[in-house]
């Protein structure tokens, strides 16, 4: 893998030298283009400064922080149950998944464990929020490449998933449903049957996207071999989630670490792709939505009976100590490092969100590509602005 990067670097240097010669001969000037903070492709406020030679990118630099909301500081003045309200808003498309690692870390410090039924429902909701999140990506990738129809299908079908999440939690986007020691409520009546119907819809949607987007010749021409991330480079930038699995790294925390969710008891598969290009990232996510449907289905069939809340004190004081828990969230690995001094509020919380690391690779990745590929590569990395800036 090092050989690949060296070859790329050499090619890049040779290209630079050639450009320099041309520049001397023709006296062409580079152009600095400021993509963002307000730009249709960044779906948020990511700013990327690119130095262009014609339409080729010489250098690219992402500027983050336009949406910084100071969650790590705000958390320090909120009691533990109040924190979930805040962290819902980090990755706003798959918000329930944001609560889970925080609650798990707090549970570890308090040495309580959620009852089995709560764990199964948690897993189902965790995967449902993954579906709600990634389904939108599957359509949005089309928009970034100029096909506007898929995203309407994505919004249409995501709505069914959100309805199911709302039926349980009361909130479409911000469930605030996970509690230390379990869940707020049990499932409503008839929910399981309805959800199975929704999963069928999502599977149909995946087939549609495989036809309409992944199977499209132009889409393949635009994404295959574009934005290739070798596994070692991706890992050295701290990438995670589907982005690194698309580079052939078989690493999924749902399988590899047992953390209060029941993925280990279910029968499912971690998908990887050897290519590491934009197409691979799309393809892996497409398979993961299907796999998430399988997981939810198995969860719904296997939910044990019993209470959904363990015995925890009414006023939660977390004992002094430190805990770090990370889970495989829709965008990649998300972790919370909690330092507690035994008070009502956490002393310090560090949030590790996936998109920040996933976007950090852009200066390396965008060198030498064309402007249209900048957009397709960014789209395939799939970041949520709230997840970058917190």
């Amino acid at each position: 893998m090092t050989a690949t990067t060296d070859a790329q670097q050499l090619a890049y240097i040779a290209g630079q030298a050639a450009d320099a010669r041309v520049n001397v001969e023709l006296e062409t000037e580079g152009m600095t283009l400021n993509i963002g903070p307000q730009h249709p492709a960044t779906h948020g406020t990511l700013r990327i400064i690119v130095r262009l030679d014609g339409e080729r990118v010489i250098a690219a630099e992402p500027v983050m922080g336009y949406m910084h909301r100071g969650y790590e500081k705000l958390v320090e003045v909120r009691t533990y149950p109040q924190v979930t309200t805040l962290v819902n808003r980090i990755d706003w498309l798959g918000s329930f998944a944001n609560e889970v690692p925080f609650i798990l870390a707090a549970e570890r410090l308090m040495e309580v464990e959620a009852p089995p039924r709560a764990q199964w429902i948690r897993t189902a909701l965790f995967e449902l929020s993954r579906i709600a999140n990634v389904v939108l990506f599957l359509g949005d990738m089309g928009v970034q490449l100029g096909a506007i129809t898929p995203v309407f299908f994505a919004f249409r079908d995501r709505e069914f998933v959100l309805n199911q999440i709302e039926a349980v939690t009361g909130g479409r986007f911000h469930p605030n449903f996970d509690r230390i020691g379990g869940l707020k409520d049990d499932l409503p009546k008839g929910w399981i049957v309805e959800t199975l119907g929704v999963l069928d819809r999502i599977r149909t949607f995946c087939d549609e996207m495989e036809d309409l987007v992944a199977g499209n010749e132009i889409f393949q021409a635009r994404t295959r071999g574009i934005g290739v991330i070798p596994a070692d480079v991706g890992l050295s930038y701290g990438m995670s989630g589907a982005n690194i699995r698309a580079s052939g790294v078989d690493w999924d925390l749902r399988r590899d670490s047992e953390m209060g969710l029941v993925h280990g008891e279910l029968d499912w598969k971690v998908w990887t792709h050897p290519d590491g290009d934009s197409f691979a990232r799309y393809w892996v996510r497409l398979q993961e939505v299907r796999e998430a449907c399988t997981i939810v289905e198995q969860c719904l069939e296997g939910i044990p009976s019993g209470p959904v809340m363990a015995k925890v004190p009414r006023i939660i004081k977390v004992p002094a100590g430190e805990a770090y828990v990370e889970t495989e969230n829709p965008l990649g690995i998300m972790g919370y490092y909690i330092v507690s001094k035994g008070e009502l509020v956490p002393y310090r919380v560090k949030i590790r969100s996936a998109s920040f690391n996933n976007v950090s690779i852009t200066p390396w990745l965008l060198k030498g590509v064309y402007v249209p590929d900048v957009i397709s590569i960014l789209a395939s990395l799939y970041f949520i602005l709230g997840d970058i800036d917190r």
């Binding site: 100029g146 096909a147 506007i148 249209p372």
Partner: protein, 345 residues
């Protein structure tokens, strides 16, 4: 003949003004509204939504509503823009669009002008829009606009060639450049001795038709060839700095050109105003001709917009590859084969 009567009584400028006014009010506006509504509804249904529903019954007055909206907006000129060129650019694009209408016949006697080089004129004036786009991109003093305009120029020049070459097959088969002559050749032609449906050139010139549609798609800068306006990369390319009335003119220009190129394709390949089984010299066609043409035009427009809403866009180099390595050789082969067959039969 009605035109002859007119010619006897009115001066040339009077005739021309009457034609222009009648053409604009009676033909282009209703046609534009109809096509616009059809396309919007079609697009909405493809994307599983309802489309315009509020303006007028079933959203039928949506075009008026949008025109009204854009008229109210402020006409902003960027501080560093080249003001004169910036303001003139939309007119150049619109002129190219409306000059195209001139040569399309709506019936045996219904046409704005009857020139022997009809199709040549149409293809020539269609290129004027490039100048307008380049003017817009340069004068906007914006990097996105400049990139968009340069992309548009490269693309439009590249796709002029397949467009013209695809039409050559039709011209060889019809033996004339006159649009009316091309329609007549299709109406009175025979396919291997069978003259029941005339000889719509889409059957013999299917390759030409396909290349023509692809090239038209690129000329219109629509997906999959919409790099010049690529909204996810270049904001909206050369349109980025325009607002209000001037944006509306580009917008109308885009839809109108789509409609007019569809009408051109319908005339060249689908027999224009002619319906099989009737006498093409019949006066009846002066009445139903425009409607027939309209129907065929909507059919072609449906195809164009179907592509538009299905495909993602190419990259600039892939687009040039497609033009120079695939479409142009194919259309040259088409011309050779057509020429040989024309001599043989």
């Amino acid at each position: 003949m009605s035109t002859l009567t007119l010619a006897a009584e009115l001066a040339y400028w009077q005739q021309t003004s009457i034609r222009a006014v009648v053409g604009l009010v009676a033909v282009l506006l209703p046609a534009g509204t109809l096509v616009y509504l059809f396309l919007f509804k079609m697009m909405s249904f493809m994307q599983s939504r309802l489309g315009p529903m509020e303006a007028g019954p079933y959203g039928s007055l949506q075009l008026l509503a949008e025109v009204g909206k854009f008229l109210q907006k402020e006409d902003i000129v960027p501080a560093k823009a080249d003001r004169v060129v910036f303001k003139a650019a939309p007119f150049v694009v619109l002129v190219s669009t409306f000059l195209l209408v001139l040569v399309i016949p709506g019936g045996p006697d219904l046409m704005f002008i009857d020139v022997d080089t009809g199709i040549f004129l149409a293809l020539a004036v269609s290129s004027i829009s490039v100048i307008g786009i380049l003017m817009a991109g340069w004068a906007s003093a914006s990097k996105y606009s400049l990139l968009g305009a340069l992309r548009a120029t490269g693309q439009l020049i590249a796709y002029e060639l397949p467009l013209v070459l695809a039409v050559m097959g039709v011209v060889i088969q019809a033996g004339t450049l006159n649009m009316q002559g091309i329609v007549m050749a299709q109406a009175q032609g025979e396919i291997f001795g069978f003259g029941g449906i005339g000889s719509p050139f889409i059957i013999t010139q299917f390759l030409g038709f396909a290349i023509f549609l692809v090239a038209v798609q690129a000329e219109l800068t629509q997906p999959p060839f919409d790099m010049p306006v690529a909204e996810s990369e270049l904001v909206t390319g050369y349109l980025t700095e325009y607002s209000g009335m001037r944006f509306l003119m580009f917008f109308i220009g885009e839809f109108a050109t789509a409609g007019i190129f569809s009408a051109l394709a319908a005339t060249l390949f689908l027999g224009g105003w002619y319906v099989p089984g009737l006498d093409p010299t019949d006066n009846l066609f002066n009445v139903i001709g425009p409607m027939v043409l309209m129907g065929k035009m909507i059919l072609v427009a449906f195809l164009i917009f179907w592509f538009r809403f299905t495909y993602p866009r190419f990259r600039e180099d892939q687009l040039q590859t497609l033009a120079w390595k695939v479409l142009i050789p194919l259309s040259l082969v088409n011309i050779v084969v057509t020429g040989v067959l024309k001599v043989v039969f």
